[in-house]
C-alpha cells in the first residue's frame, strides 16, 4: 500500500475509536423547556437567583440577538442551526450548592476522574485549582480557601454575581458587549455558568487556575461565560479544558471569555480544546463558536493566548487583544488540527491603540483527512499607536491530498512608525522523513506524532508544563500516522 493511503487508513482507525472521552454520565438532570424565548431567559436567571440588573442585561442581549443574523463569512459549511430545537439549561439536580468536595455527587467526581481530572487528588497533590463545569453549572471548585487568603477570587460566575456583584457589574460585557456578534449576544442572553477570577493588585497567583468544561446532556447547548480581571501588577495563568460525549447530533458551544489586564498585569490563558469532533463522515460533533477577547487596559500589561484545538466539528474562534495601554503586549500561539471532516476557521485580532504596543502571532495549522483549516487574522494599527510592532507567522502542514489549508491575514496600518511582519509557509510531512524515523524503529504513528510535535514546538513550549504533556499526547491521538 502506498504511504499516503496507509497513513490515511491509520488516521481513520485512530479517529474511529480514538475519542476516549466520548462516554456519557448517567445522572439526574433538570432541564429548562426546549427552545429559546424571553421566558427561557427569565427561567435561567430565576434558577440562578440573579439580581434584576443581570436579568435586564440578559433581556437586552436577547433583544439584540433577535435582530442579528448568524455570521456566514467564515470558511466553514454547516446546515442551518435550529435554535428552538435545543435545551438552554441543564443541571444535575443537586439542590444545594456543594460547599466542599464531600457534598458533590460522587457520580460527578467519578466522571471527572474518568476524564483524568481527579478533583480530590488534584486538591491534595497538584498545584492546580480546578473549577469543574458540568453542562450548565459549576459542580466544584478546588483550593478556594487557600486562594482566598491571597485575596484571589476564583469561583463560578454565578457565585460571583451573588458575592461580588460590584466587580461583575463593572466588568461583565466591558470587553465583549452584548451586541458584539451573533453568538456573543446569544451567550449574553442565556449563559449559564463559567469561571470568575479576580487577582488583586500586586498579587502573583500562586498556582495555575483551571476550568474543565464538560457537555454531558443531549440536545443541550453550552454557553459558559468566563471573566478574568488582573488588577495592577498582578499575574495569573489560567487553563481551560473541554470534552463531550460522542453523539450523532451536533451540539452548540457558544462561550464568551473576557479578560481585563490593568497596569503591569499579566494574564496567560491556555486552552486545550478537545470537544467531540464528530465521526469520520462528519456526523455529530460540537460546533465551537466562541468569542474570546482581552483588553490590555493598563500600561505595560500583557495577555498571552495559547490554544491547542484538536476537537469540535467546526471551530470558529479568534482570541483577540485590544492593546490600549502604552507598551502593552498581546500574544497568540495556536495549534489547530482538522482531521476527517473537521473544519476550523480560527486566528486572532490584535488592535494596536496604545504607543509602543507589541503583538506576536504564531499559528500552526495541521490538516488531515478531508479537514479544512483556515487561519484568519487581523492586525489593526491605529494612528496613535506610534512604534507599534507586530510579528505574524503562519505555518500549515498538510497530511494526505484531500485536506485544505488557507491563510487569510488582514493588515490595516494607519501609523507610519509601525512595523508589521508576516511570514507564512505550507509543507507536507515528506515520505523520506517518515522513512527515516521508521528505519530507526518507530512505527508510522510514532513518527507522525514526533514530526507533528516538532512542527508545533514553538506553540507547545508556551503551554504550562502540566498541559504540554497532555497536549502532545492529544496531538498524537488526533492525528497518528500522517504523511503526504
Amino acid at each position: 500500500m502506498a504511504a499516503v493511503a496507509e497513513t490515511l487508513d491509520t488516521v481513520q482507525t485512530v479517529t474511529d475509536g480514538g475519542y476516549k472521552w466520548g462516554f456519557e454520565t448517567d445522572i439526574e438532570m433538570e432541564f429548562a423547556p426546549k427552545g429559546l424565548n424571553e421566558d427561557i431567559v427569565r427561567f435561567i436567571s430565576a434558577r440562578k437567583e440573579e439580581p434584576q440588573w443581570l436579568l435586564d442585561w440578559r433581556l437586552k442581549a436577547f433583544a439584540l440577538w433577535k435582530t442579528m443574523v448568524e455570521p456566514r463569512w467564515a470558511a466553514v459549511g454547516y446546515p442551518p442551526i435550529d435554535y428552538q430545537d435545543a435545551f438552554y439549561y441543564a443541571a444535575p439536580t443537586n439542590k444545594v450548592t456543594p460547599k466542599s468536595l464531600d457534598e458533590v455527587d460522587p457520580e460527578l467526581l467519578r466522571t471527572y476522574e474518568k476524564l483524568g481530572i481527579p478533583l480530590r487528588e488534584q486538591e491534595r497533590l497538584q498545584n492546580i485549582a480546578v473549577d469543574a463545569v458540568f453542562d450548565s453549572v459549576s459542580v466544584a471548585t478546588t483550593f478556594k480557601d487557600r486562594l482566598h487568603k491571597e485575596g484571589i477570587i476564583f469561583c463560578p460566575i454565578s457565585e460571583a454575581v451573588r458575592d461580588h456583584p460590584e466587580l461583575v457589574q463593572k466588568y461583565l460585557g466591558s470587553v465583549v458587549p452584548q451586541g458584539d456578534n451573533f453568538f456573543a449576544a446569544l451567550n449574553s442572553a442565556v449563559f449559564t455558568d463559567g469561571s470568575f477570577v479576580y487577582i488583586p493588585k500586586g498579587v502573583r497567583c500562586p498556582m495555575e487556575l483551571s476550568t474543565y468544561f464538560r457537555i454531558n446532556a443531549k440536545s443541550t447547548g453550552q454557553f459558559e461565560r468566563t471573566l478574568i480581571i488582573a488588577d495592577a501588577g498582578s499575574t495569573v495563568s489560567y487553563l481551560e479544558g473541554c470534552t463531550a460525549p460522542m453523539r450523532d447530533e451536533n451540539q452548540l458551544h457558544a462561550a464568551v471569555v473576557e479578560l481585563v489586564a490593568m497596569d503591569d498585569a499579566s494574564i496567560k490563558y491556555s486552552t486545550v480544546q478537545n470537544w467531540y469532533p464528530g465521526d469520520e463522515n462528519g456526523k455529530g460533533g460540537i460546533y465551537n463558536f466562541v468569542t474570546k477577547r482581552a483588553a490590555c487596559r493598563g500600561a505595560r500589561s500583557k495577555v498571552s493566548w495559547t490554544q491547542v484545538e484538536t476537537g469540535s466539528a467546526i471551530t470558529w474562534k479568534y482570541p483577540s487583544c485590544i492593546l490600549q495601554g502604552d507598551e502593552s503586549v498581546g500574544e497568540f500561539y495556536s495549534v489547530a488540527i482538522t482531521n476527517n471532516r473537521q473544519q476550523a476557521d480560527t486566528g486572532t485580532k490584535m488592535f494596536h491603540i496604545g504607543k509602543n504596543t507589541k503583538s506576536t502571532i504564531v499559528s500552526k495549522g495541521i490538516s488531515a483527512g478531508r479537514g479544512q483549516n483556515t487561519y484568519r487574522g487581523l492586525v489593526r494599527i491605529g494612528a496613535k499607536a506610534t512604534g507599534a510592532r507586530n510579528y505574524t507567522q503562519c505555518d500549515s502542514l498538510l497530511i494526505g491530498d484531500q485536506c485544505g489549508a488557507h491563510t487569510v491575514p488582514y493588515i490595516e496600518n494607519r501609523c507610519m512608525t509601525a512595523k508589521v511582519e508576516h511570514e507564512a509557509t505550507t509543507s507536507r510531512i515528506a515520505e523520506d522523513q517518515l522513512f527515516y524515523c521508521r528505519q530507526r524503529g518507530m512505527t508510522q504513528e510514532d513518527a507522525v506524532g514526533l514530526i507533528v510535535n516538532g512542527f508545533c514546538r514553538e506553540v507547545l513550549k508556551e503551554l504550562p508544563m502540566e498541559f504540554a504533556v497532555e497536549a502532545q499526547k492529544l496531538l498524537q491521538i488526533s492525528l497518528e500516522g500522517s504523511v503526504g
Binding site: 502506498a2 504511504a3 515528506a430 515520505e431 523520506d432 522523513q433 522513512f435 527515516y436 524515523c437 521508521r438 528505519q439 530507526r440 524503529g441 518507530m442 512505527t443 508510522q444 510514532d446 514526533l450 514530526i451 510535535n453 516538532g454 512542527f455 508545533c456 514546538r457 514553538e458
Partner: protein
C-alpha cells in the same frame, strides 16, 4: 547473517538490481564498490524497506527471517541499521527526543525495558563523548541546519546508540574530510565483534584503509560482477572501474 539471492528490483519500471547475490556472514564487514548508477543506494534502500522499490524476484534472509516481508520498523528493531547518505531534517524535533524515541523503540523490539530521560542522557552522553560530539547536538532539531559532516556524525551516533546487528553505511564517507572519515571508521571498528556485521557502500578505497573489510564486492549494472579480499579495493583504485568491469565481463 544476511543472504541475498537473485535480487531483481525495479524503480518506476526501470530495472536497477538484476539478479544480485550476496552473503555477509555474521561478524564480517563487507564493502560494496561500484560506479555511479550501479545500484548501490537502491540496494541499501531495498534492504531497509523504503517504498517505491519493486522487488520482482529473489529473496533476502536476515538472521533467519524473510527480510522483504517485514515493515521497515520491524527490520530496524530486528537489528538492521542504515546510515543514510543524505539524512533528512526533522524541523523542531529535538535530537534528544528523536534519539530516545528511537532507542526505546529498538529496546522494546529487543524485549528490553525503556529508558527514562535521565537514564537515556547517561547512555547518550557516554556515546557522544566517545565520538567527540558536543552536548549541544542534543538540543538542536534533528539534522536541522547541520553541516554535511555533522549529519554523518549524527548517523554514527545513532548507530553506536542503537547497537544494530547489521549496519549498512551508504556512502557515509562522501563529502567528509579526513578527520570525519576517521571518526566513521573508528565507530565501525569499535563495534566489530562476533554478531555484528556491516555492509560498507563506497565509491572510494580511502575509507577502506581505515575500515579493513573482510570482502570487497564490485557492483555493476545491478549485479556483483567480482569479489575479493581487501586488495581488490586497491586494484580498483589503481585501475579504475572500467578495467575491472571489462575484465569481469
Amino acid at each position: 547473517m544476511l543472504r541475498i539471492e537473485n535480487l531483481v528490483v525495479e524503480v518506476e519500471g526501470k530495472r536497477i538490481l538484476d539478479g544480485l547475490h550476496l552473503t555477509v556472514p555474521s561478524g564480517e564487514v563487507h564493502a560494496i564498490m561500484g560506479p555511479n548508477g550501479s545500484g548501490k543506494s537502491t540496494l541499501s534502500y531495498v534492504l531497509a524497506g523504503r517504498e517505491g522499490y519493486e522487488v520482482i524476484d529473489g529473496s533476502v534472509e536476515f538472521d533467519g527471517l524473510d527480510l522483504l516481508a517485514m515493515e521497515p520498523e520491524l527490520r530496524a528493531t530486528t537489528g538492521l541499521f542504515l546510515a543514510f547518505q543524505s539524512p533528512v531534517e526533522l524541523p523542531g524535533v529535538g535530537n534528544a527526543t528523536f534519539l530516545r524515541t528511537a532507542l526505546n523503540a529498538i529496546r522494546r523490539g529487543r524485549g528490553e525495558s525503556e529508558l527514562d530521560a535521565m537514564q537515556f542522557l547517561k547512555v547518550v552522553r557516554a556515546k557522544m563523548s566517545a565520538l567527540g560530539m558536543k552536548d549541544e547536538m542534543l538540543k538542536r532539531g534533528v539534522n536541522e541546519g547541520f553541516s554535511g559532516g555533522e549529519k554523518k556524525r549524527n548517523e554514527m551516533l545513532q548507530m553506536a546508540l542503537l547497537e544494530p546487528k547489521f549496519a549498512i553505511l551508504d556512502e557515509t564517507d562522501s563529502g567528509l574530510d579526513i578527520d570525519a572519515l576517521k571518526l566513521v571508521a573508528d565507530t565501525v571498528n569499535s563495534m566489530r565483534k562476533p554478531g555484528f556485521s556491516a555492509l560498507v557502500i563506497t565509491h572510494y578505497q580511502r575509507l577502506l584503509d581505515h575500515i579493513v573489510p573482510d570482502r570487497v564486492h564490485v557492483l555493476s549494472r545491478g549485479r556483483i560482477i567480482t569479489s575479493g579480499g581487501p586488495e581488490l579495493a586497491h586494484k580498483l583504485e589503481a585501475e579504475g572501474y572500467a578495467g575491472v568491469v571489462k575484465a569481469a565481463a
